[in-house]
């Protein structure tokens, strides 16, 4: 049973049955169906076992992953195996992705297709991040998901754009296709997706592991931010046709990063790689340097690849440097001018922004109505990258007076304009003034 039909029943490992209600999509190793089981809806991944080298071993690995459980709630993890059919086919149940999440593939395309049920015609619906913070939060969450996975000693092996669902309003991330995840060092036959595979896999001299995951993670992050292929530039486009030999060359032994500072042969081409050309100018050096390192020395020296924790720290910093100017311009601080050491200025409208200094950090956070910091920024042990801890607001009782509202669950200590420290309970706030200092507990901040 290579394919299932609607209404068909599939027997689960422990005897219950799930009923196929629809088809969701297809991948390189099989198809995903919608099924009813136990009074609710699930997704069923059903394998084309001809595309799996050793189905028994593959199934055992999924079983082990089910028993181990997901590293965190960022994974759409396998939940129940089905029985093996007479012809050897099988599958597993996992949670359906929530409606509010879009496929990363659709984000890259900037649209998804909705099928009109009457005409069967496909209609394009835009898919875009609604907020720059949401995009950077997605980068933090993706890095963190792989940090969590690698911390439990496993590797993903097939990291690509098809493996994520993202909420474009919040940046929340769900990692799907978790079936090739295996203990680091084990591989059950998967190679990866062209364009995302580490050069040593393309060249045939290595198999997927934690080190190749790190490479693929850099590709995913590059595509998220710069919306293009890190290795496809002039040198590759000149070949016109990407034959097998060309793929081996440009994504393997002779791979060149499009912004390699020492090799200009593969720069992005105007008219084809406009996104990369445009966005590369907008990012601060520490982000660009991380990608340069990933795709220059990191191409061959696997130990030079950026570890997830580093990405995570960089993106937390990047998010704190976003400025939304009242003139409508939203961008990173590096795209604003410095009025003086402590103040940013909008190059378009001239608006200035004071900054807040946090302990243990080199960068200062720009202040404007709506600017915010997150739980992970005031508590280094927190893994909550989405919870806002403090936000800059206007006092409702005193219009024109700006302050920081405590959105966290902790009570802060802040130096108020009387020069004394006072408690700031959750839901309360403190005005912004020249001598402002806030003690969050493990972290302090001052103007």
């Amino acid at each position: 049973m290579n394919e299932l039909s609607i209404g068909q029943q599939v027997e689960l490992e422990y005897g219950d049955k799930a009923t196929v209600t629809g088809i969701i999509g297809s991948g390189g190793q099989g198809k995903v169906y919608a099924v009813d089981y136990n009074g609710r809806k699930w997704a069923l991944k059903w394998y084309d076992i001809t595309k799996i080298n050793d189905p028994d071993q593959f199934r055992e690995n999924i079983k082990k992953n089910i028993n181990d459980g997901a590293p965190s709630n960022k994974f759409l993890w396998p939940q129940y195996l089905t029985k093996v059919c007479e012809d050897g086919t099988f599958g597993y149940l996992m949670d359906l992705k929530p409606e509010s999440f879009d496929a990363f593939t659709d984000i890259l395309n900037t649209y998804k297709l909705k099928i009109d049920p009457l005409t069967g015609q496909a209609v394009r619906q835009p898919v875009r991040f609604t907020d720059l913070r949401a995009m950077v939060t997605a980068a933090i969450n993706i890095s963190n998901a792989f940090r969590q996975l690698h911390r439990v000693g496993k590797s993903y092996q097939d990291l690509n754009d098809g493996g994520f669902f993202i909420n474009v309003d919040t940046g929340a991330v769900l990692v799907c296709d978790c079936d090739n995840i295996a203990p680091d060092g084990s591989n059950f036959g998967i190679g990866g997706k062209p364009g995302y595979m580490a050069p040593e896999i393309v060249r045939g001299i290595a198999k997927p592991d934690v080190q190749t995951d790190k490479y693929s993670l850099a590709v995913v992050l590059f595509k998220l931010l710069f919306r293009g292929d890190p290795l496809e530039g002039q040198k590759v486009v000149k070949d016109v046709c990407l034959t097998e030999a060309a793929e081996l060359k440009h994504y393997g032994a002779e791979a060149v990063f499009v912004y390699d500072p020492e090799n200009v042969s593969n720069r992005p081409v105007r008219g084809i790689h406009d996104n990369v050309i445009k966005f590369w100018k907008m990012y601060p050096d520490y982000i660009k340097d991380a990608f340069i390192k990933s795709f220059t020395v990191g191409l061959t020296d696997t130990n030079k690849r950026i570890i997830e924790n580093e990405w995570q720290k960089m993106f937390i910093r990047l998010r704190s440097e976003i400025i939304s100017c009242p003139c409508g311009r939203t961008n990173y601080a590096c795209m604003f001018e410095m009025e003086d050491r402590l103040t940013y200025r909008c190059p378009k409208c001239g608006m200035t922004f004071a900054t807040l200094e946090f302990s243990g950090r080199d960068n200062r956070m720009p202040l404007y109505i709506g600017s915010r910091f997150y739980q992970c920024e005031i508590d280094p042990d927190s893994e909550d990258y989405a919870a806002v801890a403090g936000m800059l607001v206007e006092n409702k009782l005193k219009p024109g007076v700006l302050g920081i509202r405590n959105c966290s669950e902790l009570t802060w200590n802040a130096r108020m304009p009387d020069g004394e420290f006072h408690k700031v309970a959750p839901g309360k706030g403190c005005p912004i003034w020249q001598g402002l200092e806030i003690d969050f507990g493990k972290v302090t901040a001052k103007i």
């Binding site: 990866g192 198999k207 016109v240």
Partner: protein, 280 residues
Amino acid sequence: MNNINDAAEERSVMNDKIQNSSAVDNTDPFDFDDDPLGATGVSRKSLVIFFMIDTSGSMKGTKIGELNTIMEELIPEIRRVGEADTEVKVAVLTFSTDVKWMYPEPIPIEEFEWVRLNASGVTSMGAAFKELSSRMSRNSFLNSPSLSFAPVIFLMTDGYPSDDYEEGLKALSVNSWYKFGLKAALGIGNEANDDMLAEFTGSADTVVHAYSGNQLAQMIKIVAVTASQIGSKSMTLSDQAEAELSDEDVYASKQKMLGQQIQNLVNQNENDNTDFDAGW
């Protein structure tokens, strides 16, 4: 690789021109659209799927009727096959007494609408090969400004060519796009000659045969879906040995992979003789 190389040179000249003209516009660093969310879709590699369909008189009746319906259903099913990496376009070439394109140029698969075909006349397959060869060029159908994958070429026929197909095939065989393309063929009914089809695809593995309407639907789907996915889907490691791959190792590896996958699926379907009430 003459066709491809000439075109490449032309391109790089074009690139130089574009880059020179843009060198002056960098005076004001903020004088450009600087919204970090203002992205257009990622640049996709282009893939054209060519369907070459026999519409000679012998296809008349249920054969062409079934084929029309299968193709109408197939196109929407493979709409998202390119994902974020490949822009898939479809071109349909029919051959009977005359050789005709369904549309004057390849159409993106998301917009493609199947025009039902009629069958009559003789089988000018050789002329069809020549026509295909003339269109598979940077100056014609394969004119995407971005990078392309070699095309997928899927031939469907129920009979023997009535013209000199070998001459046409000779013309086609020097075309680099054909040489590197993924070729598959489907013989319909008893008259179709699998050896001749293997000459076209270059290997017997990528030739399948359908004797009934049900098989026709299965085979078209297997070949079209498998062929259009190779290159854009995650793949299994073909070789267990960890040795550096050379150009020779990877030469025509996609065509070989296509052959293997088609044969696996075909065998699986042939073995699937289970009764409906069995196995529950």
